[in-house]
Chain length 471, copies 2
Amino acid sequence: MRRPYRSFAFVLAVLGGGACCRAAELPQGVADTAAALRSGALAGTGAFDLVRSLSHEVGPRLAGSPGDKAAVAWGLAKLRELGFANVRADKVTVPHWERGAEVGEIVTPHPQPVVLAALGGSVGTPEGGITAEVVRFADLAALQAAPEGSLAGKIAFVDNRMQRAQDGSGYGRAVGARGAGPTEAARRGALAFLLRSVGTSNDRIAHTGATRYTEGVTRIPAAALSNPDADLLAARLAGGQPVRFHLELGSRYLPDAESANVIGEIVGRTNPEEIILLGCHLDSWDLGMGAADDGAGCAIVIEAARRIGALERRPRRTVRVVLFANEEFGLSGARAYAERYAADLPRHIVAAESDFGSGKVYRLSSRVAPEALPRVAALAGLLAPLGVTQGDNEAGGGADLIPMAPARVPVLSLDQDGSAYFDIHHTINDTPDKIDPKDLDQNVAVWAVTAYVAAEWPGDFGRAPEPPARR
Amino acid sequence: MRRPYRSFAFVLAVLGGGACCRAAELPQGVADTAAALRSGALAGTGAFDLVRSLSHEVGPRLAGSPGDKAAVAWGLAKLRELGFANVRADKVTVPHWERGAEVGEIVTPHPQPVVLAALGGSVGTPEGGITAEVVRFADLAALQAAPEGSLAGKIAFVDNRMQRAQDGSGYGRAVGARGAGPTEAARRGALAFLLRSVGTSNDRIAHTGATRYTEGVTRIPAAALSNPDADLLAARLAGGQPVRFHLELGSRYLPDAESANVIGEIVGRTNPEEIILLGCHLDSWDLGMGAADDGAGCAIVIEAARRIGALERRPRRTVRVVLFANEEFGLSGARAYAERYAADLPRHIVAAESDFGSGKVYRLSSRVAPEALPRVAALAGLLAPLGVTQGDNEAGGGADLIPMAPARVPVLSLDQDGSAYFDIHHTINDTPDKIDPKDLDQNVAVWAVTAYVAAEWPGDFGRAPEPPARR
């Protein structure tokens, strides 16, 4: 293991790319411990075992489902078993949507069944399903450009293909249609909405994910087709004949249910009331085992914090692990946390969430007070041996940090390689075999160093600038 | 395009690897036309369009299903449209098995649904399904070693993982459990049989394929788990607690149905009664679109023959394309063909079948009279610019050629790279997007050269040695 900082009394880090001049001094002891955490994690961690345990022993855990309850029990048991303090389940009320049976088929011309998945929150179809002609749109903008009433009696199909990218930026460009598409289609008279899956794989597997209906607009059933099935439908439509499609969705809402944010702490040595928050979300979509989304994130933050707790001397501040309830279907846990701990948020020194699968971390972005950027640079220096560079100060952080943004909680974002993440994201294919344990170890190394330094190093990250628009 | 043989009056080819000495003389005109076919195909063919058409306009086409009938109609229309002569549908009676609904789940400990697919021909489960404890076996041999009665009231699970290989040889080593497993389990008292999918992908997609029951042994329901689900079940079993599994299969047999071998010919110029048979199978499993298995094979042989038919001068012998009915579930079409054309088989100069997906051809194997091996070597020489080497003389040929073996019809086997084939084989993932059109073009080049040379070059391949045991 490389330990490039061992021989220096101080680490002098300057702002990445800046010509000048502010430096942050990192005490030698902190740097040494960080290096030990780094090399220790790279030698192998228990993170993959945690992912496998959550995936295999709990599996799917959509908010409100029996799996959700099992996940809370799993989280409490694991955190206790691993020696965390103040382990608790903070109750959270969550919506409870259930998928039910799903059928899709091209009826004419050339009948053929297709693979699809209801979008999360979709209403079901009426008894007997919906059979109607399909109208294709290249993307959401094309749908939005269609005249009112032009889709009366039709099924709208948005055929935009998500592009692969290291930073996952193709997702942001494609996902708008998942949220807004059903409402935009309904406004124009459509009976149902079909979407090319927001995902990068050609596997014949559909990607779910939340949609949202706008108040006052008819709620129409909405489903995503796998990429090969979207190809099929597009090819049939290109044939020039009318294409009729049959859709049956058994999805429905049940009464709200009880879930919980599961919390455990490595209590600070001298400043226990100051919090370094490491987050992930405990819920998952119903289709897969939630290994990458977000079993990986939970394993990373739990294992990173556990390793800090196992140090000879705990850091000054408290490292708090929060396994948020129901990120996927409305951020219920995040909102409940921000409300319950509103009075404590000014003492949240920094927060970070791991929720982007298991790809290696390649960049440290932030949203901290500008005067704290030299500290971020110093931290990035400690992460450089792990292949991490410093990014900008515009980080949004994970979705579960959004409700804390008004309190200006500083955010660090440990940006992961998302090149392969959207092959399995929100699908039945989200299983632990897709994860390389060595990638998780690299993540644990990055998180352990980051959390430890933030918890031990005197001084803080100030308060974050006013929250930006969500990225 | 390379035309290495243009400047030679003759091609002198010697047996690959042999020290000595028999040579085959290939007339310059034949070599020139072969080179033109080769370069023409590499410049781009219609093969991919054929695969896409069959996949999208017919899709799944299991023997006896509506798709099977649609495929016969498609084959007749395509062969006529492409200018084949003597286009006909030779009736074939086929079995008709239907999958129905499928449910599998681990019940205890840690309940979780799994992805599985009934093996082709499996009986269904009784009303309400089967719930029983699972007993794992590492492979078929381990199951066979279990004492009689030892599986009474249990579900047997064979957990052998297929290995990836260029020649697909991992399939042969793993597939035995698919055929014999249910009977071996039933002999020991098992209520049902589960198999780790015979496939190389970690996608959460199950691989079906025919099983066979032995007369006089109880027929028990049988299904294949996707690789990630087999991992899950194996992990739970490794946990030491009893694992109970619930299985529901709605599969059943319907009355035999009518299908057909679809045949078209490029009629020989001087010896029309001498047949060069190019085969593929028109049926597919019910799960996918049958793009690789065997849409690709049909597209390759149709397009290769079509290009021969489009030559200025047709070859001396007849090139007959046979799209066999029901290869997958019992070789019905192949048996019917061998019976119907029994009197003509002595005039079948050579037969070959394309049924291994869309990977490039890398080897020409054969089963011909030993004295005809120099002709095979000469042919291999013409294929060398396409990356093809000469294999042995032990080729089995495609499955549909098996019923012709007693008539000692010579066989050429154009061995394809099967490294990726078993990722999608017999799955819902067998769709045209998995195929590289350039790979198909290379196949068409190989097949067009091979069929043309066999049809034009005077002399023949003798009669094949007595049939070997099926590889």
